[in-house]
Each structure stands twice: as C-alpha cells, then as structure tokens.
C-alpha cells in the first residue's frame, strides 16, 4: 500500500461485504435507517455526521458529509457552527478533566 487513505475507498465502501456479507448487510441497512428523514431532518442528521466526522477525523466521512450537508440545503455558516460544536465538546472534555487535576493539586499541596 503506497498510501493509507485513498479517495476511491469511499466509493468502494460496499466491498467490505467480501469478508462477511451478512454483517455488512446488517450494517448498511442500519446505516440507511439512521440517516432517513425522521424526528430529525436529513439535513440536521448530516450536520451531526459532519461534526462527528471531524471529531473522529475521518477524511472519507468529511468528504461525504460536506457534500451531503450542501445537498440537503445547509450552507457554510451552518456547517462551520456544527464543527465548532464538536470542537467545543472536544476542548471542553479536556478542560473539564482539569477539575481532577485541581483536586490532585489541592490534595497533595500545602
């Protein structure tokens, strides 16, 4: 393998069924159901997916859900706000652990 990430892997995603068709079918039908229009709109789900994609830093998902967000009527401002939600939770998750640090410091310092 000359490089780990290849854009064409995205369109070949379905070939993952080769090793286990039954599980792949279950996964893809579940996946399809998750993204169907429901109590949340397809557009809102695509924005959540975009934020998660950046959190797990998956280039395939970033590619797919940037496109999906646009297709479903989101604009750059909405997409950027979704991203900042992910960033805030990521940053906040680190920072809130600082309270543990603080406790340690208080306990073991004079």
């Amino acid at each position: 393998m000359d490089t780990y990430y290849k854009p064409e892997h995205l369109s070949h995603f379905a070939s993952i069924a080769e090793g286990n068709k039954a599980l792949a079918e279950k996964f893809f039908s579940y996946y399809g159901a998750v993204f169907a229009d429901g109590a949340l709109s397809v557009r809102e789900k695509a924005l959540i997916a975009l934020a998660v994609a950046h959190t797990v830093q998956c280039p395939y998902c970033i590619d797919a859900y940037s496109q999906e967000c646009l297709k479903n009527g989101s604009d750059l401002e909405q997409m950027t706000e979704a991203l900042h939600v992910a960033v805030a939770i990521r940053g906040g998750a680190s920072l809130v652990h600082g309270v543990q640090m603080l406790e340690h410091v208080k306990k073991s310092s004079m």
């Binding site: 397809v42 479903n72 009527g73 750059l76 401002e77």
Partner: protein
C-alpha cells in the same frame, strides 16, 4: 528585510494557502465579456469533449433513453406554452443558463411576435402559459400579454426573480398579479443569505425577502390557490439538491421564523451545464465531476415526466424549441423533414409528431429525482 513569520499568517481575514479565492458573485454576461462560451456551439462542444466513456451509457443520453425503452423521446400533448420574453434582466447571476443581464436589451420579444404567440396559443390548446426570461416583466408588452391570457382563461405563470419587484416601475406588480390570479414562480437560490448572494450578488437575499413581504401582503404564499407563490432553489455549487419535500418543510419553518415570510411550495432544480453555470464548472475544475455526477445519477423514472414532453418553448425571436435549455443551446425543435417551427406558422399536428431534440445536457434533467420547470419529477 521584514520579519520572516514562523507560522503561516493565514487567519480569518487572509485566504489560506491552497484555498482558491471565492469566485465572483455576480458576473457580466458571457456575451458582453466576449467569452468563447457565449456561443452555443462552443458550449455543446465543451460538454461533449468531457470523457465519460467509463460512465453508464458511455455518457450518451440517446443511449440512456434507448436502453430504457425510448427509441426516441416522443412528446405528449402540449399543456404548457412557455414564452421566453427576452434575455434582458436586472440581475446577472453566476449560474444563469440564459446568459441574461442588463446588457441584453436587444434580445427582447417585440409586440408582433407577442401577438403571434397569442394566436399560436389559441391554436394549440395549452391550458397554461409560462412566462420566463431574463426578467419577463421587463418586456414592454408584458402586462398586455398577461391581460390577454387571463381574458382567454389561461393559467398564467410568471417566473420572477423577486428583486425586479423592488424596481420603481414594478412596485405595483404584486397587487396587479393578485387581481389576475397569476401564479408566481420565484427563484431564491437558498433560504439563507450566503448561498443566495454567492449566486446572485451581494444584497440579493435582503431584497428577495423584502419582495416576499410585498407578495405576502398582496395575499400570495398563504395557501390561496388563486395566489400561489412557489419558490425555486438550485444548488450554489457542483452538487444536486436532495429531498425537495424535506427542504420545503425546513425552508417554510426557517423563512417564517427568521424573516416572517411564507410561501406555498418549493421546487428544487438541478443546474444545467449550459452558459454561465458551464463557465463556472469549467473555471473551477468541476466540469468532469459534475457531468459524471449527472450521468451516474440518471433516473429512468424521470423520463415520462420530462417537461419537454408537455411544454413547448418559444424564443424572443419566435422560434419554437422543446425547452428553454435547448433554446439557449440553439437546438430548435425539428420536424421529420428537417425544417424548424416558427410561432407564426407552425402546424400543431406536425409539431406533435416530432421527436424531442436531446443531447448530453439532458442528463441534467434526469439526474436524481429529476428536474424540470416543475421541480423534482419523482417524489
């Protein structure tokens, strides 16, 4: 020597390395810029040069039709008579397939041709007349024509760009339309400012919202079938619109909540690889990818509902086309003997016997849920 920055200096105000500058928002017409793409022939060549040999049907629309049971694209009875009243427009949007603009004042339908259209409508029996442009309202015969159609009992559709309603001589149009029951099909690229202004120029979104308020005040967009207000969206980029019904729901909710305006229905159209949108595709390196997207999204279920089957389209100079897109590509409707049709003297029976003229651009109409002047074809 100045300081060498240790870190790249890009930030919110500086374009980052490798990021292309935003494309110009509104542009002048291809014709006024003397662009090669102003020629319909060059547009057709540009699209046909794209290598789609590895794509379904090898990128041939005729083959896609054939393999789905249509040896030729037969028209159905004419229901809609569409008139392009001219290429003159108060705007000049980035994606315009007409290459319309304020400079195109010499390509406007004259009163004699308008008369000929009325006579033709009487002969062919269409129940609906669809007025488009450019900005159709800029044609000096516009109001006379609408009145003549209304008195004939025709359903009249005006394809309106919204901003024209704010210009001095058109301020009274909302009330004027309401009195005559004209259906308004208004283009608004997006329900938010950014993607609207990207296509139509800065400030367009604000103006469009003001125009929608005027229409609401005249009774449009409130569920009254005699004052129907339809909005038309098309993507600001190289992608296809998704679910029209879900978008309609969200647009209704957000336009009412954020701007206090209402409308009746949303149509989502695909952008066609023609004229200024084609130029944008080429300039941004998106042409091949977009054509591949159109071809791989081919949906045979859209063929029967294509607008070219129940609509004829007349150009400002009175020639007859299968649709407004063919009109812009200078591909007139042709009879089996190879002759064209003119609004002055066409024979509806001969017209009905013609096959529709198709080409690669037609993949724009059959992609995804399909796209016609009536929006998605399949729900």
């Amino acid at each position: 020597m100045g300081d060498v920055p240790l870190l790249p200096t890009w930030g919110p105000d500086v374009a980052g390395p490798g990021l292309p500058a935003a494309s110009p928002r509104a542009v002048r017409s291809l014709r006024s810029r003397g662009s090669e793409l102003a020629s319909a022939e060059t547009q057709i060549e540009t699209v046909s040069r794209v290598d789609l040999s590895a794509m379904p049907y090898a990128g041939s629309f005729e083959r896609a039709l054939r393999e789905n049971g249509w040896a030729r694209l037969e028209p159905a009875p004419i229901e809609i008579f569409q008139i392009n009243l001219g290429k003159l427009c108060n705007m000049s949007c980035r994606h315009c397939h007409v290459d319309a603009g304020p400079d195109r004042s010499d390509e406007v339908m004259d009163p004699a041709t308008v008369e000929a259209c009325l006579a033709a409508i009487d002969r062919c029996g269409a129940h609906t007349v669809d007025l488009t442009g450019g900005a159709p309202e800029l044609n000096p015969s516009f109001r006379t024509l609408v009145d003549a159609l209304v008195s004939r009992g025709k359903h009249v559709i005006d394809r309106c760009n919204l901003t024209i309603l704010l210009t001095a001589s058109h301020r009274d149009l909302p009330e004027w339309f309401a009195k005559r029951g004209v259906e308004l099909v208004c283009s608004l690229p997006h329900n938010r400012r950014r993607n609207t202004d990207i296509q139509r120029g800065d400030g367009t979104f604000e103006k469009s919202i003001t125009a929608l308020r005027l229409l609401n005040a005249a009774g449009y967009g409130k569920g009254d079938p005699g004052r129907r207000l339809t909005l038309v969206t098309n993507p600001a980029g190289a992608f296809l619109p998704a679910n029209q019904a879900a978008m309609e729901r969200e647009w209704k909710e957000s336009l009412e909540r954020e701007h206090g305006v209402t409308f009746d229905r949303l149509l989502a159209l695909n952008n066609m690889p023609i004229s200024r949108y084609l130029e944008w595709l080429e300039e941004t390196g998106n042409l091949k990818r977009y054509m591949e997207l159109l071809v791989t999204s081919f949906n045979a279920g859209t063929i029967a509902g294509l607008m070219c089957r129940n609509t004829i389209s007349v150009s400002w100079d009175g020639r007859i086309f299968d649709c407004d897109f063919n009109q812009m590509l200078e591909l007139p409707a042709v009879a089996s003997d190879g002759s064209g049709f003119h609004v002055w003297d066409f024979d509806p029976a001969v017209l009905a016997a013609r096959p529709v003229v198709v080409g690669r651009h037609c993949f724009g109409c059959t992609a995804g849920a399909g796209s016609s002047c009536g929006g998605a074809i399949e729900s």
